[in-house]
Point group: D3
Chain length 287, copies 6
């Protein structure tokens, strides 16, 4: 419908893409956008009424496996910026949603997009902000040691170290050369969707309960986007044993936050993300 | 429109009402809901697509003047809770928006509404959370000494003391018995809307600039709802002198946040706002 | 004795009262004031030399059971304020002590009483402040999930989140309609006073030891006033197993703190609790 | 009077003494104890009902001038400990009050005295704790640059860095060899008591107003004990210009706090100040 | 000398290089390494005894002007990582020093180098850590609004927000297309070295004094490496007016810190910068 | 060698010495300096190229056993200051390294030495600062309950409470009168050096693993200098089970830090450690 369409026009950008020949492909790279958006069923309600495009993200320059460590994140971050810049300049979108749990290039994208008055949201940022609206402390369920510690820095950068109860690791990383495994995030997702027992769901549940009982988590979030599919499974299992705890995931959080920013007509502060030669400048900044 | 209508069904509740005979009436108490919602012009865009009702709030039990100090806030907070309870039980709404800058009864309303799965937002909470998405630090522009210090406690309770650069006081309080004044928030608003010079706008601008240059504010918010009308005036004036700073106000912030919570299907954590005898309980809580 | 009498003239105010017909009566409502002051034996030494009256507090407006959740606290808070106001205006007292672990109406009462130069103390505030004089961190032993989380907000409001090691829950709440139980705080107290095994003492001891060994507590305090009777039992048991840890309870803490404030001639800062139109006001407040 | 006498039996210990031949004598060293207690008129009301002795403190080992820098504080701290030890062992006292603004030897004295169940209070500790009961932030008015920075460490050690708005320096230090001056704390006090204009009062007032208006102080305290006499002068002057702010000083604060500890039967946590081989010990300590 | 040579073998890597045809060349790109290391005279003493090579850094991919904003930093960060990787793999170096005030790629470089047991230091990190050894708070003198706010994030990421008094801006940015100026960091440096009046020195001095007197700085550091040359000028001028304050600059700080890490045989924690599949992993991480 | 000799000329000062007749002698008191420096083998590499002398420290004035509690630390702190003063005045040294885990007299020594432009480092300070360069959080392995809590105050004073994961106690204190034991730090060291099983190594390992897995430590440090010998044993054992965690010890940390300060020509800020009558002084200090 025309009116709604003009209200929210979003570009969703993946963190990175792998070549079609990669043995480590972690998501469908063909088909309609809905098929190329992992866990589309989870975010469908939030996407309702939004006109959206999906960009595959920059191709990973370091190899054909998924991003996990700081080095890989920095490389795809750099690759993402021209995409954001072009999207802003195109005039087609009024918000940009960075997919990918580790939000490579998020701060830089906000700097770029603010000059256009366009909000940018991302999955870690959005989950953390929303989690702190719902409870005193939140925990993060994540999948790999190196990714945990990269994410640790995001928690600090977004200034949630006093509200983050813990990062919990289910230790089911992506495969990468030399690290093949029968246990993968994608495989576990398939099992769970088929109604089979999934070790990843079990571990996530175990870590969730520890996060609640030991770490003080009152809200749960996820780290790497390859864990986002766990949301309904963990939520349901926790509810069954009596824990009335909100469980967020990154895609819907980032999309909903972008909607809110569009509703309010805000993107980011020009003092926080100044242009190169702003009209006004401040002699001092304090913390 | 049917579809949109069913998505967001909000009850907006004023903090308190004054008897129609009050010499200190601070807002219209008759006419269509739009007329009884101060600064409707500001929030109209955000309200678009929302089915909403407006409740006048409890009548102030302490007298016929506006709420400003802690005692008065506590009294109207108590009066607001039955209204929230009834609204939740009515099944008519999927979110409740507490109007009023000082959000009396907010935490209690969340406790009540969570059991119904209904989100409650309020103006201080919403502005602060959104401000911290846009910049490192925010300041609050407010109107009375007693209200400032009541609000100070809200900043602490919502855990934004490390992000709040300052509360700035324009010192134009409401009138109350024994404290008549030619300078009132409502009168200043009228002047500004007529395009006349408003002392309140000038003071707000002065405090805003000091907040930016001295206190480190990167986003501006407002305290008492009687200051919310200042938003476009302050924003425009700051932009004219080159400060590219987002200026929020409480009503649209609270409404937009409520939309977001409805979009995500969240209200509040059951661990943070537990029922009386929850199925699960925690042996310890940490900070 | 005349001299002492004139030095400390206190009004102790219960948090709320229940109708005499209530099946959930939680304390004696008849007899001399000593009988109507729970655990009088514990506070008698501190009360020595103090002229005191005891007010039953406002009658609970929501029902005939004890306060536990945020809603109930807000309602009795509102009811307490006129009592405080009248007591201040009476000229009979030079300090007001708010009984009740959750200190409903404390901040508002301080605002009211400061204008009279009268200090107001309350049980959470007093225990926390004193605990931090004695050790690095303290824990709180409390009795119900909803009360814990209400109390959590008090810890934050009083700014002790960095000093509070934990809130520990013995999970023996008051009875309320639909939640009858053989295990009640009052019943457990009777058992303990009779020298019988009390499950509540055992649980409190278990939580106390965990607070010490796991959470880092170096001082112990109590939450709901219905746990205050545990103090000598927990203290003694801990001492027997070798833990030399101070155990505070709310009544004596609040009374002793009120004495100290009277001794020093202080009540509260007029900048923190300003009157409605103070002679001086501040352009900015910082955190 | 017998009854009162047995309740509070205090030893007040000066931070240090100077030889009677010193040209820098900073307080009377002869006469009744009241004459040897500076500003006795200020603390007399708090001392009422207390049996007290006054110890001159250790003689300064480094020279014949007053303590100001860290080195001098460390030396007199060492000298004070045997005095505290002997006082505890004597059985004559149930509280020890360390006079002297910089409280040399305070933590060590608490360690010593706790084994005897005897509370020790001191002037910095007491003022800071009490100040935080009265307002959100406090400032410290002090007299010398080196003393300021020594005191800065006390603020951190007592964990009040988030509550201390500022240390303000009137820059009127003690005289010491090579640093003679017409302007001395003692001389200024005499002028003020005689009703003459005192530069020290004027500077303290100026710094107090800046502390209130710029730094956010809501309570005022003093640093070096040679500034304590300023309390009534600063308080009165501030009240005259409309600032309703509590002004504390160290002696009465420390004495009142000691009374409170005696009332409650507490001294310090045995976990915070453990004996050499405590019965129980903790595997871990956290912050 | 052989022995010394083998002890410290460092590679210094510039943040980025510009093409020789750039009109915005900001440092010599020819000649011996000493000539290509800006302010070599400042760091010469610290370099004594170190075998070092100098790498020009990656060529800026976005244009031919100097890095200032977040986007530009992200792009050169990505370019720097292969250089670090190759240097580590070469076996020629036992430490890597990242030149450039904004330390692009620092965290990623540490991740890469830790696997080789090689420490990496950088200019912001090193100055901040060393500053906090010397005083309670430090300020940063920097040159451009966008760079300030990029640097702001570094302060947070390195967790110095509670120790950083302020970022002070002299507002003399690099030239870039469309922003030509007669006032440049390099030009000012030449003036100062020739003994002429330099506006940049004057502004830096003004900001330094404000940082000391208003913000509470007790140590001074610099932001962008184009301000490092100011160190001796600011230090001398401050000393002349009596401020005994240490002034650090990034190159010598980073080199000295690298030496210290080599001396101790440490690089970074393997838990903080884990490899892709570490032998041990942690179920939870806390803040 | 002449050149090196002139670069680093250090005096290492023990915390205290015991009389040769003491039954509790904790280190060799005769022989060459290398023999009198415990764990010389550990620090030898760091000492390379440094000209150093070793001072035995002040003789313990309280008895003939090792320092452990606050009182004993205060007494030897006072005894250390004249040694530091004399060393500074001698002109022989360009840095002073305070041995002893609890660094008695450290702050005072810095005050004294700064006037001479001489850096002073100590073992707690140095380990904590370096640990925070290597990882997010560190733990401290220590040996006695009283020492733990004294050390707790050092962590706070050096402002590392947010970075210190825990103090872990192996509970093998020194012997002292009335507390003889078969298990001593020195005896355990001998066993470990002989390749025998050492209970102290086992306990340290157990606490180290708990610090890593439960407390969040990413770097390990030691408390009392009598635990420093554990470094290589703990490090090796942890590495064997796969924990790639840096383990620091105090002597080498303090020496390496002193070298770094000499390299940079810094000692301490004159604003933090002002002289008695500095040329400039600040009206306010903030936190």
């Amino acid at each position: 419908m025309t009116q709604t369409a003009s209200r929210y026009r979003f570009l969703l950008i993946h963190a990175f893409s792998l070549p079609s020949t990669s043995p480590y492909l972690h998501r469908p790279i063909e088909g309609p956008k809905e098929a190329r958006l992992p866990n589309h069923e989870l975010v469908k309600p939030v996407l309702e009424g939004i006109e959206w495009d999906l960009h595959p993200g920059p191709q990973a320059p370091y190899g054909d496996w998924a991003v996990e460590n700081r080095e890989e994140f920095a490389l795809v971050a750099a690759g993402r910026l021209p995409i954001v810049k072009e999207a802003c300049a195109s005039g087609k979108y009024n918000a940009i949603v960075l997919l990918g749990g580790g939000e490579p290039g998020f701060m830089e994208s906000r700097e770029i997009a603010r000059a256009f008055g366009i909000p940018v949201t991302a999955c870690a940022f959005s989950q953390m902000h929303i989690a702190c609206m719902l409870g005193n402390k939140f925990s993060i369920i994540d999948l790999a040691e190196s990714h945990n510690m990269y994410y640790y820095n995001l928690v600090i950068q977004h200034r949630f170290d006093h509200r983050c109860a813990s990062i919990r690791n289910v230790h089911i990383p992506f495969m990468r050369p030399g690290h093949e495994s029968a246990l993968t995030p994608q495989g576990e997702r398939q099992k769970a969707l088929r109604g089979e027992r999934s070790e990843m769901v079990e571990r996530a549940l175990r870590e969730a309960v520890c996060a609640i009982e030991e770490d003080g988590a009152e809200v749960l979030t996820f780290g790497c986007s390859a864990t986002f599919w766990l949301k309904p499974f963990v939520e349901k299992r926790l509810a069954e044993i009596g824990w009335e705890i909100p469980v967020l995931e990154g895609y819907s959080s980032a999309i909903a936050l972008a909607k809110m920013m569009v509703d309010l007509g805000v993107s980011a502060s020009g003092l926080t993300f100044p242009g190169d030669r702003p009209k006004q400048w401040r002699r001092k900044k304090t913390f």
